[in-house]
């Protein structure tokens, strides 16, 4: 009886070993060739900062995505939204700065240092839980440039918006490269 049990167990063990290896080994071996599990990074759609308990965010009025393309010659319109999440009335002063930089040298390693082309400032006085917005319209945007809107309040500054000021390069200017 015991011998029969031993043989039966051995058959099951060999079978299970084979099936487990067949299933498990390729999975784990292939893991080496899989992309590494990078920590998930999620884009923040409404960048902002907090000053005196008031949260300030910047949003383009239209369109509203980060990769929006602006038409050169048109102004950029955006709003600053303020929300007082504290339990007391508060005031937040802020400044806005619009900078632009052009990729004027195709062989250069980097974009040049951006230059300021517009600036403005504002202030919010909010009761607890209150939300207000202020709209801003810049001057005409220069063509072919990266535009950045910087928001500053207190000692904190963030690059709130970053977007190009013209439609993507036309296909007629795109060089073609033939591979052998």
């Amino acid at each position: 009886m015991l011998r029969q049990h031993f043989h039966s167990t051995l058959i099951w063990a060999v079978g299970s070993f084979g099936v487990s290896l067949a299933l498990g080994l390729p999975l784990t071996s292939d893991a080496v060739n899989q992309p590494p599990a990078m920590p998930w990074v999620q884009l923040i759609r409404s960048p902002g900062l907090t000053e005196n308990g008031i949260n300030l965010t910047v949003e383009t009025v239209s369109p509203t995505t980060r990769q929006s393309v602006q038409t050169p010659g048109d102004p950029l319109t955006f709003l600053v939204r303020a929300h007082n999440g504290s339990n007391a009335a508060a005031t937040a002063d802020f400044t806005l700065q619009l900078t632009s930089a052009a990729a004027s040298r195709p062989f250069a390693r980097t974009m040049p240092v951006p230059t300021e082309i517009w600036a403005d400032s504002g202030s919010f006085n909010l009761n607890p839980g209150e939300t207000k917005t202020l709209h801003f319209t810049t001057g005409a945007l220069p063509p072919g440039r990266m535009i950045e809107v910087n928001l500053r309040a207190g000692q904190t500054q963030i690059a709130a918006l970053s977007l190009p000021s013209e439609a993507f390069f036309s296909s007629t200017t795109r060089p073609t490269y033939a591979l052998p």
Partner: protein, 379 residues
């Protein structure tokens, strides 16, 4: 109550044999798979960002496009100076570009292994990706590319640059490419065996775009690069390798305009040299941040221009460590003999052999040797 006969208690059923057999079989398989290393690879798919100053350079990547004449004198010198066992991959958009590069570098052309992309690109390799060392022996190197290239929306070549890491991983089986999700140029991050130094641009482009604050950015960088991040918040607004280089054994070399001022020979720079107190303070802030992190800091002459991007710098080199010695392929500048000698002496005093590479043709394009060359693998 009656007791069951003893032989019935000991007698195994067919079901118990099956269960026991399955358990033994699965356990043995798990043991074999674990010995094979598969589970380790699943948990940790890549190692840390490779160090600038430690290890023997095994393979590098350069990029070239037709007309980028400023780069070829540097490639020619570097290929002659590099040990013969270093593999050199040349990423070009097409065969004509590669032929032009091969003709320009002369007798070392045979070292170049072409990788043709078929799309626009720039001639700057450093900023496209950073290399993460393999998690274990014979595992692939990971090329970690940023979420997007800065200015790609208006700069066609820069948009093509976004694809270089993938191009390389498709061409070379020993590589794999991944995207970080963070925004950076490769030059915004510079690592030694402990830390990674982070430029102001990498901080600015990520906070409130990919992470809430500096603490979250530090956590993401630590997890992805497996190095301790040191933020250079008040540094010059340029890539780290333009003003700081890791020198190994807890040392860094940091640029210092005040050391360069008395040694500078007349030279035309965009807007002139910038010896202002505010710019000096930016360089000093880098030295202070490194010192605060426990590094021994050596200062070296450096001249920023008033455009903020054109630097005469002696830290923008490549470091190779072999046979117990470190060599730096150090940028030098035509007509700046006093600065060149002073910088060379500083590196030699740190125990380095200095191999000078004249970068006069390139530095006006906002970068030099370190910016043109990226290192895939060190051992």
């Amino acid at each position: 109550m009656t007791c069951a006969p003893a032989h019935r208690v000991l007698s195994p059923s067919p079901r118990s044999s099956a269960i026991l057999g399955i358990c033994v079989g699965v356990a043995a398989a798990v043991a074999v798979i674990s010995l094979n290393g598969g589970r380790v690879a699943t948990i940790q798919a890549h190692g840390p960002m490779i160090s600038e100053c430690d290890g023997r350079i095994r393979s590098i990547v350069i990029q070239y496009v037709r007309g980028a004449d400023f780069a070829t004198p540097i490639y020619r010198q570097l290929l002659l100076a590099l040990p013969a066992d270093v593999h050199v991959y040349a990423v070009c958009p097409d065969q004509n570009s590669f032929n032009e590069l091969r003709g320009a570098v002369g007798i070392s052309a045979g070292r170049l292994e072409p990788i043709l992309t078929g799309h626009p690109m720039t001639a700057w390799s450093r900023d496209r990706w950073i290399a993460l060392s393999p998690a274990r022996f014979q595992a692939p190197v990971t090329l970690l590319a940023p979420s997007a290239e800065n200015g790609a929306e208006i700069w066609e070549q820069r948009q093509g640059d976004e694809r270089i890491a993938d191009d390389l991983s498709h061409a070379l089986p020993a590589l794999r490419a991944d995207r970080s999700g963070l925004f950076f140029d490769g030059g915004d991050l510079l690592a030694d065996s402990q830390s990674v130094f982070v430029s102001p641009a990498a901080i600015r482009r990520n906070i409130q775009h990919t992470c809430q604050d500096r603490a979250e950015l530090a956590r993401l960088l630590s997890e992805q690069l497996q190095r301790h991040p040191i933020f250079l918040s008040d540094a010059p607004d340029h890539h780290v390798g333009m003003y700081l280089m890791a020198a190994g054994e807890g040392r860094v070399v940091v640029g210092d305009p005040s050391l360069a001022k008395p040694l500078l020979a007349p030279i035309e720079l965009p807007g002139g040299p910038d010896f202002s107190a505010s710019t000096q303070a930016r360089f000093d802030s880098v030295a202070a941040a490194a010192a605060a992190a426990g590094y021994r800091v050596t200062r070296i002459p450096c001249i920023p221009s008033s455009d903020g991007k054109t630097f005469i710098t002696y830290v923008n080199g490549l470091i190779d460590q072999r046979d117990g010695c470190r060599v730096i392929y150090m940028p030098v500048f035509e007509g700046q003999d006093r600065l060149n000698v002073a910088a060379q002496t500083i590196w030699q005093n740190l125990g380095y052999r200095v191999a000078p590479i004249d970068v006069s043709s390139a530095f006006r394009y906002f970068g030099t040797l370190h910016c043109l060359v990226n290192v895939i693998k060190k051992t």
